[in-house]
Symmetry: C2
Subunit: 362 residues, 2 copies
């Protein structure tokens, strides 16, 4: 049962039990038409609890009203069914959580404190009130976790597919703000957590989906919790921002890794007008990701460089931060900023130097 | 030719020349794959000129950076092909303009000054770079008109259909801010411009589309410029906000008419805990809208009450504003706020009293 599955929020063993129903009546769930727009909005917003003093007025007027004493940062992302997620194996609750987390991640990458989000959703005829509630449960869970207030949004119907748009807002002092353009030669290139696991989780899900669809084989996801969670329920690294503050380290440049390490370090280099030297053997990759890469016969480093959706923080620090970072297991130094003329280089395990290349979507 | 059509931005006689092409090659337009994501973003953002001092950093980092000395208001809307617009008769340039205008309208309805927008678009395989440029031309045109800066957004592909999400941000002092909950008994209910024309424009377009599709009849839109423009390129009433300031009148409550006069006055009444009495003969309806209503055999008042998408401002003013408003042709008094127990009443031309009802989407 769909709803049973979603209830196990932290467990992802029951994915693939999810099948969007053709027959809502048989599921004993509530068709959206039964509620109408205004009642649906009430349903969606009923659990909102304002957590930030910067939120003066949330949902319920033409616009939300906010009050900031510092600089305001804002970012937006759109997620579409069939492009960014597959409801065959993505629990709606995880999806709601992820939609908030990936936007919060962009606010954190400015070294700012996330404070509000606006959320628009478009749903097609397959959706029931209960499914929207599942999605919103994930949204509220993320709002609570990251201490952001849901202050506005839009609900609409779509012809086909589920569409999600989130705008996130945050606050930072001018001194705190951290852009992409501040990296300087000889600075350390650092990354939080580990990379590539999210991409490998997606590859696993796609493989199992294909087997399930073609041959009816029940998915075998046992023991792959970590890479699946990295894909289905990524976390924004609010803890790393707090840690850097505690260590009194301010990044000279920062970005969150959404497109992949290669693409994102190249963004920093391009904006800062510098080069970089990365060491392949320093790129943090979880052992479960290595194992899956081997099983799928793909290169783990390639996954870390180009997989994307890691939502780890990539940043540069002055060279004198080296000793502190060495004693900080949450952060790994993976290379150095160089002069722009030196280009963008990856030194492989074998000692060869290859040029870093980005892979955006087409 | 598609591009020729869009060039005539202010003229809407050439609609129906718009046909989304199956064969991009034959159109000599540029497939999006040829550019890739980053080049496309460059293309979209190349014409941005920052107009507001509150914009410290626009497109180009993880988030935009803004600075406000007063309260911040923000709102968001999603527009989907097949639900909110039909590309058969909606020029992309008009659509870009409308997507901005309707969000600006929500900011104005708070009595705030719009300052920034974020824009996300998702496009499917039918789209070319030139089509996105057309859309963006309308966006830029609206940004210039309403003096808002495009400071961020997202571009992605969609499986089917064009999806647009706009978030608008504005600023107002605490004293300026105008909510929905401030209406009090005996206050005037006022509205800017005229109502119902947008809905009638849509009905005309739908009628002509049906004739064109079924019988190949060329659309006859001559003489209907006003109602078509109200539908395809609505304006946010920034001029009314300025006029009210000039007249030293501050609305006690305000909303923009997007769902229809009936639904929106009921929102004010519900939030303000008051009743209302509207006079049918006071509801401003343009004579071209009357004519079209007659031609289509529908009631013009019903269009004004429930049509929606007028984007006029609906507001309440203290009774002593009566003399000023009477001398202000841009604003019409259409009724009075009453005690909540009196209910929500429309007095018809014949003098009968009927209950006002809202019609949201299902």
């Amino acid at each position: 049962m769909l709803s049973l599955c979603y209830k196990a929020f932290h467990s992802i063993v029951c994915i693939f039990a999810i099948k969007l129903k053709e027959n809502i009546e048989a599921m004993q769930e509530t068709p959206i038409e039964k509620l109408g727009e205004f009642a649906l909005i009430n349903e969606i917003t009923k659990n909102i609890q304002i957590q930030n003093t910067s939120t003066l007025k949330g949902v319920g007027d033409d616009a939300a009203v906010l009050s900031f004493s510092e600089k305001v940062v804002t970012t937006t992302d759109m997620l579409l069914e069939g492009i960014h997620f597959d409801l065959m194996y993505t629990p709606l609750k995880h999806l709601g959580y992820k939609a908030v987390a990936i936007n919060v991640s962009d606010i954190l990458a400015m070294n700012a404190t996330p404070s509000q989000i606006l959320l628009s959703i478009a749903v097609d005829k397959r959706f029931t009130v209960e499914m929207i509630e599942d999605f919103m449960e994930g949204v509220h869970y993320a709002c609570e976790k990251y201490r952001v207030d849901l202050v506005g949004g839009d609900t609409t119907s779509s012809l086909t597919g589920f569409a999600i748009s989130v705008t996130a807002i945050g606050e930072a002092t001018e001194e705190e703000l951290c852009y992409r353009d501040g990296a300087k030669p000889n600075e350390l290139i650092c990354v939080s957590g580990d990379l590539g696991a999210s991409y490998l989780g997606l590859q696993l899900l796609e493989r199992e989906k294909a087997l399930f669809e073609k041959e009816g084989v029940q998915p075998d996801l046992a023991g792959h919790d970590y890479i699946l969670e990295r894909q289905l329920k990524p976390e924004a690294r609010q803890d790393i921002i707090a840690l850097l503050k505690k260590l009194k380290l301010k990044p000279t440049s920062m970005i969150d890794i959404s497109d992949g390490l290669a693409s994102d370090i190249l963004q920093i280099c391009k904006t800062s007008k510098v080069g970089c030297l990365l060491y392949e053997d320093k790129i943090p990759i979880d052992y479960t990701a290595y194992n899956m890469a081997e099983e799928l016969n793909i290169n783990a480093t390639t996954c870390a460089l180009n997989g994307g959706e890691d939502y780890e923080l990539l940043f540069t620090l002055p060279l004198d931060a080296h000793d502190i970072i060495e004693k900080t297991p949450e952060i790994q130094t993976i290379g150095y900023i160089t002069e722009e003329t030196k280009g963008h280089i990856l030194q492989t395990r074998g000692g060869a130097e290859v040029e870093l290349k980005a892979q955006g979507w087409k």
